[in-house]
């Protein structure tokens, strides 16, 4: 299989990488090692670490940071941006629809079963329209590239996509370590993201809120692996980082406990999952949420971002219908392509997948983080047969996709610069406007030949540049 190299076309350096190429070629090896150590020390001091679930070991692990940036030229980015915004609009239109009249189901374009029997579908919010009709306010769309002009959407993240703190910190650290690079290249900034996020949240304050809205970030607490990101964002946005126990419901509003007494909260950017939001409405044993929160939400006393129930739009089974949503709600042709997907509950698809397992990638419908998946071409015969048995036991739980030729980007490894596979997660903000900072999180599979970029599976991160005109 041949892979699109982001930097080289044969031996020729692609235009956006021209200056970088010079930088790399003149960099002495010992200087590179020194800088790499400096970057690591900076990350550790700032406190960006993450916990890997169920692996034991160092609880304060660092995500490996690669100093070689990934670069887009302005025109490439504009095209991507249009596609991402289009997709974000369609996803929110879909959510409005399925918690309302469900025209798309009535029209027979999406099977009712996939919507209403979906675990993420919240009956508790049927008929509740959040401010501006926005359900998902931060959408992380995972993209991969296979050719110069060929991008595919791997998945949509409509609930609480994480990783944006890496986008910001990667840039911060690159600027600190290599100011010269930024003077020589004209690189679009990303550090307006926290302000944009705050504005987005304020723009969806409930109608009952008369003054400037009070926004908070709701975290499960400091034991959560993404706690660093929660506190980082709260700090940059200038909003309080609260836990469930800091909030309480009184009458038709939500308040936080402050040293000056109760203070009303208008918008909650929650980083906890639906089932934990309100023990009176969802899981009664949840200690993370706020009793009575959903009643206040339903009566328009508080906004919750993303809205409860938004997860029904980013499920891997619903994913296959997103291009259909674009046509149905927007009357446009989708600008971003889906990866061809076989859904194993269909007989034809099932047969095809079972016959071609060694060539395919198979994923659990509700899985995430690179767990519970089979990468056929990278697996042994035993692994494939073991996975086949799991599929046979519950075909409806799986989808399959062709193994994509993910593009590679030069990456620093022990021997020097070598191509490694990358993906891209831009963060799209939806409020009164739809906005996107020029950049995103580039994840890189550090193991040679690996196609899995997840940090829990040995992935690293890179700074992502969009060059200005």
């Amino acid at each position: 299989m041949s892979y699109y190299n982001e930097m080289y076309e044969g031996s020729r350096v692609r235009e956006p990488y021209a200056r970088l190429s010079q930088w790399v070629e003149t960099m002495p090896a010992d200087f590179r090692q020194m800088k790499q150590a400096e970057a690591e020390a900076l990350f550790r001091r700032i406190g960006i670490t993450f916990a890997v679930y169920g692996e034991g070991g160092d609880p304060d692990r660092l995500i490996p940071f690669d100093m070689m940036p990934r670069v887009f030229e302005q025109a490439e980015w504009r095209r991507l941006e249009r596609g991402i915004k289009q997709r974000a609009r369609a996803l929110n239109a879909f959510l409005r629809d399925v918690y309302g009249r469900a025209e798309i189901v009535r029209a027979g374009r999406i099977p009712a079963r996939l919507v209403y029997q979906n675990e993420a579908y919240e009956k508790a919010v049927v008929g509740v329209v959040p401010p501006r009709g926005v359900y998902s306010h931060i959408i992380g769309i995972d993209l991969v590239r296979t050719a110069k002009d060929q991008f595919y959407v791997l998945e949509d993240n409509c609930r609480t996509p994480s990783g944006v703190s890496y986008m910001l910190e990667n840039r911060e650290i690159m600027m600190r370590m290599f100011p010269g690079l930024f003077r020589g290249n004209r690189i679009e900034p990303v550090d307006q993201y926290p302000d944009l996020l705050r504005r987005t949240l304020e723009s969806v304050a409930p109608a009952k809120c008369q003054d400037r809205p009070t926004c908070v970030i709701l975290t499960p607490g400091h034991f959560n692996s993404a706690y660093y990101e929660h506190s980082f964002l709260a700090n940059l946005m200038g909003v309080e980082l609260v836990e469930g126990a800091d909030l309480f419901v009184d009458g038709e509003f939500v308040f936080m406990r402050t040293t000056q007494g109760p203070k009303r909260v208008d918008v909650i950017y929650r980083r906890i999952d639906d089932p934990f939001l309100d023990p009176l409405c969802f899981r009664p044993d949840s200690m993370l949420g706020v009793p009575g929160l959903m009643d206040v939400y339903r009566s328009g006393g508080v906004s919750i971002c993303s809205a409860p129930g938004a997860g029904v739009a980013d499920d891997k089974a619903i994913y296959t219908f997103v291009p259909e949503m674009v046509r149905f709600y927007l009357g446009e042709e989708p600008l971003l392509q889906n990866v061809q997907t076989w859904t194993l509950w269909k007989d034809d698809d099932y047969r095809y997948v079972m016959e071609n397992l060694p060539d395919l990638v198979v994923k659990e419908v509700h899985g995430s983080g690179g767990y519970g998946m089979l990468v056929g071409p990278k697996s042994t015969r035993e692994e494939i047969e073991a996975f086949r048995a799991k599929i046979e036991a519950n075909p409806g739980n799986y989808i399959a996709q062709p193994t994509l030729a993910l593009s590679t980007c030069p990456t620093f490894v022990a021997e020097g610069l070598a191509p490694r596979h990358v993906d891209l997660r831009p963060y799209c903000l939806c409020g009164d406007r739809i906005e996107l900072v020029p950049g995103g999180l580039t994840r890189v599979a550090l193991r040679e030949g690996s196609l899995v970029v997840n940090s829990s599976q040995g992935g690293g991160v890179k700074d992502t540049w969009v060059l200005s005109e």
Partner: protein, 318 residues
């Protein structure tokens, strides 16, 4: 400010000060046992020190026998002892981690380094550690954190809550140390004014790093009356009851001024009242009243102020 944030800052201050006290306690005990003294050997002294920190029962249950190693382990490293240096530093660091964004990076660094170094110390074979180095470790690290707080933190309500924690804890600790000396270590009246008595006062002064300061302030001999005056009523003495309480009042006033009239001020009012009563005393009155009785009253009042701080600010008005 979130009540939880304020509570974490308040308890961060208290636990740092408490770690400091634990280390000083160890030092007092160590020095007293070096004295060729009393009828019943050094066991009693240690026991009374443990009583001062309210952990004597726990120690007896877990270790039984009083030995230098057991005591060191218990006061310094034992996680089951909530007042051990390690327990306090761990709690302070955890509180700091939860409110990371309310701390400057210098304060966090100092706090985190203290914790990391302590973890290393914990793994050192005990035979290679001596009491003096453990005490020095603690006082120098807690001073670094304190210095970082004073040099870099914004002078906002969070700063007041941290310093309020320090102030109340310190007032409480000095009162308890004094009480140990007078009531427990030296129960028999004929010892008062004896050589043993004077030596023990010296030890207390040393433990509070106030030995030289005392001489600057009073000159001449160490007497019970002067030392008590120094540690209770002297406004220049950094760990005296009056100084510590004054700092608490000052911080409570800072908070009250910021928050205005809608927020209750029962803690400030109570602290002012206690300070007023302290100022109305002279040392003879205290001795006439009975030092132990006086200290018991004072420790109770500090407890009340701490409770009122919680009611006024840390419960969030619900």
């Amino acid at each position: 400010m979130l009540s939880r944030t304020a509570a974490n800052l308040f308890w961060m201050g208290r636990h740092l000060e408490r770690a400091d006290t634990a280390a000083r306690l160890l030092d007092v005990g160590q020095r007293i046992t070096l004295l060729p003294n009393t009828a019943s050997g050094y066991q009693n002294e240690w026991n009374s020190l443990l009583q001062a920190s309210g952990t004597a029962t726990l120690f007896a249950k877990k270790y039984g026998e009083v030995s230098q190693e057991n005591i060191e382990e218990f006061i310094f490293f034992d996680r089951q002892n909530p007042s051990s240096v390690l327990s306090c530093i761990e709690k302070a660091r955890e509180a700091g981690r939860i409110v990371r964004t309310a701390l400057t990076s210098q304060v966090w660094d100092a706090l985190n380094v203290t914790y990391q170094d302590l973890r290393k110390l914990e793994k050192t074979p005990r035979g290679k550690l001596d009491t003096a180095s453990l005490t020095d470790f603690t006082t120098s690290h807690t001073s670094t954190v304190r210095g970082a707080i004073n040099a870099t933190q914004l002078r906002n309500d969070g700063w007041h809550f941290m310093n309020l924690g320090y102030g109340l804890e310190r007032a409480d600790a000095t009162a308890r140390l004094l009480d140990v000396k007078y009531y427990v270590l030296l129960p028999r009246i004929e010892f008062v004014g004896s050589g043993l008595d004077t030596y023990q006062w010296q030890v207390i002064l040393r433990a509070l790093s106030a030995h030289r300061a005392y001489h600057w302030a009073y000159g001449g001999d160490i007497t019970a009356g002067r030392v008590a005056d120094f540690l209770i009523l002297n406004g220049e003495s950094p760990r005296s009851l009056i100084t510590s309480l004054y700092e608490a009042v000052w911080n409570l006033e800072g908070i009250a001024k910021r928050y205005g009239e809608t927020v209750p001020t029962t803690a400030r009012d109570k602290a002012r009242e206690v300070l007023g009563r302290l100022q109305a005393h002279d040392i003879d009155m205290i001795f006439d009243e009975g030092l132990h009785e006086f200290l018991t009253w004072f420790i109770g009042e500090i407890g009340t102020i701490s409770t009122l701080v919680h009611e006024d600010y840390l419960l969030g008005g619900s």
